[in-house]
């Protein structure tokens, strides 16, 4: 391929500096390490200095705080990623994954990595975090013993749990309860063994511990407090079998997770002679410098100037900011942080803040407890009324308001702050009552005043926008609720109505625009914007949100409103998203993919050979997809027409992989071949795919047909899925894979072929008509309710079914292959050039390197791994 042997530096790399740039080496790419890099970038240092990162884990920094969402919310490792896309490349940061530092030579100022790499530094920053402490009990190395700290730990636990029935967590602290929740979620009978007399001894007091225990036990987790683990016994196969407890009892268990605290990873610092604390932790001053002024330590590995090692992320972030400030030549210091926490553990809300244990002299407790509801609230108050801290279990609604009030005398008496609403609290007490100086987001230290300013002065109208402006709410997320309330209060105060409009150009929702286009037979974006757009947007350029949305509505309704169906025709072409505009999907290096339709996943040997030949002749990467077709990657824009000419000649047509449109209808082999099949699922899948091909919709649509109840085609994870029964077909709707999987709901049973098609017609058209932009059927169905959808499409409660069917009939009759039509039209083909002034010159930045016998993109600045 072009340029394959020519890995030139990228255009985004900063211009070479006249003087040699100083080198900053970061050891450890965890949460705090990444925050440090962002702080360097914010201060403009990352562009000027050479920054090298040694990362022990096999992946870049991720959100350890939300690790458990991997189990609880189905997050995939990538969803936890913390590094903004393109971040490393933009600042030219060299990231070495899976290559830990093994030695530091402070005299020579070098760091040696396990791979043998030696980097000279001007400044060294240690952000090595902690390791889980495993108490020295006999048997702790048996197979089936784990810790809970990294994504790799989770993957190992998950794999092992598949063959286990009981799991035990050693340690009933914050992390122990998270781990217990994870084991429960994996379907294990779960025990927690805690040495202290209560759960979460560090965060909650005795009363709170009791409330917590009741709720945790009600969830089916067995709690053993006041007992220690004495030995872990393994079976003859070397795998964990039981645990002996200090009260003489034995707890049979297949799996053990140690969660007995963490210890700072200060081994590198010790080995190079930097002072560490008696109980571990690299000694640093308020500027986060170690005894060697060229070396900093931040995060959980550091022993801060106040003599503490902090095991929470917010203080780590403050240290990262302090170190970056110091390196940039500014002043900043970290002198200690507040240990407030708010968590949801096993579904139980727990919060503690300030002086939760009432350690201050002369302080008083104000208590409210409702054991039946599992609610416990305690505030610690000084004799003069100053709020010092508190513990909340079961209902932490008031945390967002109470924590910022810590250190002040609250505007209402403390008993009103712990009593349940309606039980005599005289004033509505919301975030509006907080002073401007109150810190709302403690992870990023954002005060109420800054949030108000973001709304009033910077024009933010949503919590997400405020987050982008101020970072509030983008850490642990515990302030999200208060933040939302504050934004709404501020907007209301400023007289700004909360806007449900599609974008800055239209005040209507997508569904409202659809109705407008249909009712008034509007056929152009210009007309819609100039007549129905927001006054300030009329006559303007529009934006990247509404253009593709309107393009999709026009395409869905094209035959009905009397518009050419082709997305590249005058007036429509300029609106299309880049992918629709080139009838191909743009990939990360600016090349495109080519995806021919293979209805139902059925393909003849001749067609398979054509795909192979085309891929070979154009040097494309080929991959079989989950949708039972073959994607070809790495086409340059000027090659697309030639590639498609070959495919169309062989009988292929567009697969619409680039559009918010029907993608594929998967199938199993069905009754033609399978001895279990009860209906011909392949034929039905092909019929459905050909019927709905090219249908533009608010989001992509996926489907599948299974030939029997064994469900090999996974129809219940699709937008519409069909499963054969002895009597016909069952139709499921609203399923989804992806980050938030959803099982589809049964819409109707035992349908004939004709009934099935009619119901799908209505369902799809009702979705297209009423869904919001980029709203998948799953989300739409949850929003408007399955019963409502069934009433409308099965029982015709709105009397619109005939119209929905007619719209679909128009679509089916009007379908034409977009690629064949494009190849026939010189005007449409004009856009497929690399450069307007050099149409056939390949874009020199589109480059590939070989991998496993195929190509892969070479990015101008590939992250070094």
């Amino acid at each position: 391929m072009d340029g394959m042997d020519n890995p030139t530096p990228g255009a985004a790399r900063p211009a070479p500096q006249p003087a040699p740039a100083p080198t900053i080496v970061l050891v450890g790419h965890g949460m705090v390490g990444q925050r440090f890099l962002e702080a360097l970038a914010d201060r403009g240092v990352a562009g000027r200095a050479r920054v090298v990162v040694l990362c022990e884990e096999p992946r870049p920094a991720y959100d350890r705080v939300h690790l458990t969402s991997y189990f609880s919310a189905g997050a995939r490792p990538d969803d936890l990623a913390l590094v903004p896309e393109g971040f490393m490349a933009r600042y030219g940061i060299e990231l070495h994954l899976g290559d830990p530092a093994v030695a530091v030579d402070r005299a020579a100022r070098t760091v040696t990595a396990r791979s043998g790499l030696v980097v000279r530094y001007d400044t060294l920053v240690l952000a090595t975090g902690s390791y889980p402490f495993v108490p020295p009990v006999p048997g702790r190395d048996a197979e089936g013993c784990f810790v809970y700290r990294t994504i790799e730990d989770l993957l190992a636990i998950e794999a092992y749990a598949a063959g286990a029935r009981t799991g035990t967590v050693v340690g009933g602290g914050l992390l122990g309860l998270e781990a217990a929740g994870a084991l429960k979620g994996l379907g294990l009978r779960t025990h927690v063994v805690e040495f202290a007399p209560r759960l979460m001894p560090v965060q909650v007091d005795e009363g709170g511990g009791k409330a917590l225990r009741r709720t945790v036990e009600a969830l089916g987790v067995q709690v053993h407090t006041g007992v220690g683990t004495q030995e872990i016994t393994a079976g003859p196969d070397g795998k964990v079998a039981a645990m002996a407890l200090s009260d003489g009892s034995e707890l049979p268990t297949d799996l053990v997770v140690f969660s007995a605290g963490v210890r700072p990873r200060d081994e590198l610092a010790r080995a190079c002679g930097l002072p560490v604390g008696e109980r571990g932790g690299i000694v640093v001053d308020a500027a986060c410098r170690t005894a060697d002024p060229a070396v900093y330590a931040i995060g959980e590995c550091a022993l801060a100037a106040d003599g503490r090692v902090y095991g929470l992320v917010a203080p780590g972030y403050e240290m990262a900011e302090a170190a970056a400030a110091g390196i940039a030549g500014a002043e900043a210091s970290f002198t200690g942080a507040d240990l407030s926490t708010k968590l949801k553990l096993l579904g139980v809300d727990v919060a503690s803040f300030g002086d939760a244990h009432g350690a201050a002299e002369g302080c008083l407790d104000v208590l409210y407890s409702d054991p039946r509801a599992g609610i416990y609230r305690k505030l610690v108050v000084a004799p003069d009324g100053t709020l010092l801290g508190g513990v909340l279990v079961g209902d932490v609604e008031s945390y967002g308001v109470l924590r910022p009030l810590t250190g002040t005398v609250p505007p209402v008496a403390p008993e009103h702050l712990v009593l349940p609403a309606g039980a005599g609290a005289p004033v509505a007490f919301g975030p509006a009552a907080l002073p401007d100086a109150a810190v709302i987001c403690s992870c990023h230290n954002v005060a109420k005043g800054a949030i108000r300013a973001a709304v009033a002065e910077q024009g933010c109208t949503t919590a997400a926008e405020v987050g982008r402006c101020t970072r509030a709410g983008t850490g642990c997320g515990s302030c999200a609720k208060v933040l939302g309330q504050l934004v709404d209060t501020e907007l209301a105060a400023a007289g700004i109505a909360v806007d449900k409009g599609l974008c800055r150009c239209f005040a209507q929702t997508r569904a409202e625009l659809y109705e407008t286009v249909l009712a008034l037979r509007i056929t152009s974006y210009r007309e819609l914007l100039d007549r129905h757009g927001r006054p300030e947007a009329r006559g303007g350029e529009g934006c990247e949100v509404c253009k593709p949305t309107v393009a999709s509505i026009l395409a869905s309704l094209a035959p009905t409103i009397g518009l050419s169906g082709h997305v590249l025709d005058a007036g429509q072409a300029a609106l299309q998203d880049t992918n629709d505009h080139f009838l191909a999907n743009m990939q990360k290096n600016g090349s495109y993919s080519v995806v021919p339709r293979i209805p139902g996943g059925e393909i003849t040997p001749e067609k398979l050979i054509v795909i192979g030949e085309v891929a070979r002749d154009f040097g494309l990467y080929t991959k079989i997809t989950g949708g039972q077709r073959i994607d070809l990657f790495g086409a340059r824009v000027e090659q697309l027409p030639r590639i498609w000419a070959r495919l169309v000649a062989a009988g292929f047509e567009s697969g619409h992989a680039y559009g918010k449109a029907l993608r594929t209808v998967k199938s199993c082999v069905g009754s033609a071949w399978c001895r279990y099949g009860v209906q011909d699922s392949v034929r039905m899948a092909i019929d459905l795919e050909l019927r709905y091909r090219g249908l533009r919709s608010p989001h992509k649509l996926k489907s599948a047909v299974s030939g029997c109840a064994r469900e090999c085609a996974e129809a219940q994870s699709k937008d519409f899925g069909v499963i054969a029964t002895a009597a016909g077909w069952n139709l499921y709707v609203g399923g989804n894979g992806g980050a938030t999987p959803r099982h589809a709901d049964l819409l109707a049973k035992d349908l004939s072929d004709a009934e099935l098609v009619r119901l799908i017609d209505r369902f799809l058209m009702f979705y297209i008509r009423t869904a919001e932009r980029l709203e998948r059927t799953s989300v739409w169905l949850e929003r408007i309710g399955l019963d409502h959808v069934r009433d409308v499409v099965v029982h015709d409660s709105l009397g619109i079914c005939a119209e929905l069917e007619q719209l679909m009939a128009d679509h089916v009759a009007g379908y034409r292959d977009e690629w064949a039509d494009t190849l026939d039209d010189p005007e449409r083909l004009r856009r497929f050039v690399s450069f307007v002034n050099a149409p056939d010159t390949p874009d020199p930045t589109v480059r590939f390197v070989p991998e496993r016998g195929q190509i892969k993109p070479l990015l101008p600045l590939t992250v070094i791994s």
Binding site: R526, E541, E544, A574, G590, V637, V836, V846
Partner: protein
């Protein structure tokens, strides 16, 4: 670069003078094209719906890919911008400044249609 350009040509101002890219008729309102500049550099050239031409660097600084010419145009407070097709950051067509990240920008080239 010194030969007089035909009327209706679009030109970009480079350090060495006006560079002729293409006839204005080659542009589609609301979209862009890539222009190959001397020394393998490239620009993204756009025609907005009001008929004005704009040119900025074609390389998206967030990904290093030469794709800005394939992005969608929009306007914010009356100023036209292009949204990168990869990660959707917006770039002001007059200045090349990224509207979503102050630290990022691309070159901006004055552009004109020869009368």
């Amino acid at each position: 670069m010194t030969a007089p350009a035909a009327p209706g040509s679009v030109q970009l101002l480079l350090p060495g003078g006006w560079f002729t890219a293409c006839p204005v008729g080659a542009l589609e309102p609301g979209r862009g094209v890539a222009v190959l500049l001397p020394e393998d550099a490239q620009a993204a050239l756009f025609l907005d719906s009001a008929g004005a031409v704009h040119a900025i660097g074609n390389i998206d600084p967030f990904t290093g890919a030469a794709v800005l010419s394939h992005g969608l145009l929009g306007s914010a407070a009356g100023r036209p911008y292009v949204a990168s097709p990869l990660l959707k950051q917006r770039f002001d067509l007059a200045t090349g400044r990224c509207l979503d990240d102050e630290a990022a920008s691309v070159p901006a080239y004055p552009a004109r249609v020869v009368g």
